[in-house]
Symmetry: C2
Subunit: 408 residues, 2 copies
Amino acid sequence: MVQKYGGTSVGSVDRIHNVAARAVAAQAAGNEVVLIVSAMAGETNRLLDLARRVTELPDRRELDVIAATGEQVSSALVAMAIQSQGGKARSFLGHQLKIRTDSAFTSARILAIDAEALRQSLKHGSIAVVAGFQGVDDAGNITTLGRGGSDTSAVAVAAAIRADVCEIYTDVDGVYTADPNVCPGARKIERISYEEMLELAALGAKVLQRRSVEVAMKYGVPIHVRSSFSDAPGTWVVGEEAGLESVVVTGVTSDKSEARVMLVAVEDRPGVVATIFGALAAENISVDMIIQNASSDATGRTDVTFTAAKSELDRVDKVVQAVAEQVGAREVRFERDIAKVSIVGLGMRSHAGVAARMFDILFREGINIQAIATSEIKVSCIVAAKYAELAVRALHDGFGLDRPTTTG
Amino acid sequence: MVQKYGGTSVGSVDRIHNVAARAVAAQAAGNEVVLIVSAMAGETNRLLDLARRVTELPDRRELDVIAATGEQVSSALVAMAIQSQGGKARSFLGHQLKIRTDSAFTSARILAIDAEALRQSLKHGSIAVVAGFQGVDDAGNITTLGRGGSDTSAVAVAAAIRADVCEIYTDVDGVYTADPNVCPGARKIERISYEEMLELAALGAKVLQRRSVEVAMKYGVPIHVRSSFSDAPGTWVVGEEAGLESVVVTGVTSDKSEARVMLVAVEDRPGVVATIFGALAAENISVDMIIQNASSDATGRTDVTFTAAKSELDRVDKVVQAVAEQVGAREVRFERDIAKVSIVGLGMRSHAGVAARMFDILFREGINIQAIATSEIKVSCIVAAKYAELAVRALHDGFGLDRPTTTG
């Protein structure tokens, strides 16, 4: 089995020993055990701050060299803790497991894992402690997988060794229908499909990195999200076939990490949006929602709006200012005070009118909708940031998520 | 050229920028520049303390995984600083340069360096910033080279790329005839031979790791030890042929890092010392002086004494207690309050009576000599720790080291 422990779970010497004890117990129960560990809580931020004190725009290759040390340290500390409890263990770094990624520094994607070294280690009865979040590209450069990347490391390793389960240990005890801090009626979800989890992860539920769910879905790895501070079962993330009850809406999320960017009155001709988003893609900047209407007047001009992470806004600004003239934009506007509120559920596929019901619930609360994006199993609305919590509670109530019978 | 910067030289963001500026200037002056950097001052101790809080006897393989992160971080920070000053730079870790070592974790020896990646990088006009202190063994495990190991990294890299000079930047401005804190009359040495420097390094002069001098001597790499806070020339460490004036004694050192271990009344038969020191060697414990007399009485028993680093004493104790019974030792005694005081000089080869003069100088100060060890170009005496400074000053005066004309 694969067990992944996040930063708070390895955040102190005591907690590291707690993780070691869990791993030793899991092995004693007859499992082959592979651990994936994050950096100790706060360590990644400390390292990135150090880099930013040296230069405001640090090179991303070098940033990854620094950031990867957080997991390097915690993997060795956990291995030592297991040894001190009488177990056998050894640490593995990204380059030692040949966790091969592309070269998109700070947000690389795993391409392949050579599981041979792991298999050898397991065969010798040793617990393997893998540094999460990191890999190497073809040239041997160190890469990191972006925030939450250790989740993806864990699922990818689980897929590579064909583990029965990938347990994700965290400081909450599972995935909830909404953030319990915002919505007192929120309930823990027992089982959820990869597709729904994918949308929830993409929409601001912090419990799993989105990419990790994609990999789990692709390779059919069951994920069990649970607390490292208790033995209670958490939330299983599984394939649709695995006996899920169909509900219309499974969860409600909100996300304030994005900002809205509007290029005002760009020329409405072929190639314009390709220019804008091609330039952003060339800088490896992820764009989320994109909204563009055909021009409705005689000016032949239209507005192009998109959302992107606030943390990327400095880089977005540079790119957009550079292309603004090229596409004849009259102005570029940034709006930071927004939230994206979303509902997710497999049941939307077969139930018509779910989006309309969402708009109605928000309307009744007097919340103006600035933009809308939909997929097969989710609806997202951009609203003013100040309404985020109100919107989540209203939607959670409106779709009856507090009623325990509706989710399996 | 190769420039190596120690922990104090990269100990803060300002100092990192100072190092970057020096490197950029050296490149602008027409040099191909390779930097070797240590961990930021205090960082290695912080990391090792963290490990010791997890377990009192941490596994050495895992300890190296942790310790290596200090240099990993500083190499990337220095590369970033150079970039922010308009230069081209990239960091290289031990496994990226294939700095191949044996598997003696925490005190590994460099076996080979693949300089191809460095040559490529230099050819592109980039300053290479190499993480010192670290390498990889044949199995891809991370190893470290022991305290001061970055000096050895630097000299080995200089040898691999056939650099004209290996500059070792430190917080002192060169090698002195004695520790200026102990001996006010101590002078900076302008040129010193590899052989003498080797003895000084082995005898407690902290300015260069001993192994680095061995490598420099083997490959004929000129070392220039100098201050990172000034432009004044420091001390050149060179081959004997390079115009050194012959003086009887070049330097005086003292070293309180060792303890004396005595196995009392062991059986005086073949194989006994092999058993004792074989067991220590099997644990990779370095022993310094070894003193054994033939048994002088009818008991057929003798005392075996040796010195070893105080920091290794816990491990020494385990090994020695295990073999003590085997060799029939009546008792094992440890003495921590000792110092090794030494004189070093090429001139001893051709001048008789240097050792006798040393004993006489110590005798006149009322200092008892507990043990003696000599080599072709050094004499060391073990004395009570409290006499260490007095002994150094007396020897420095007695051999006329304060007179500037005697050293070239």
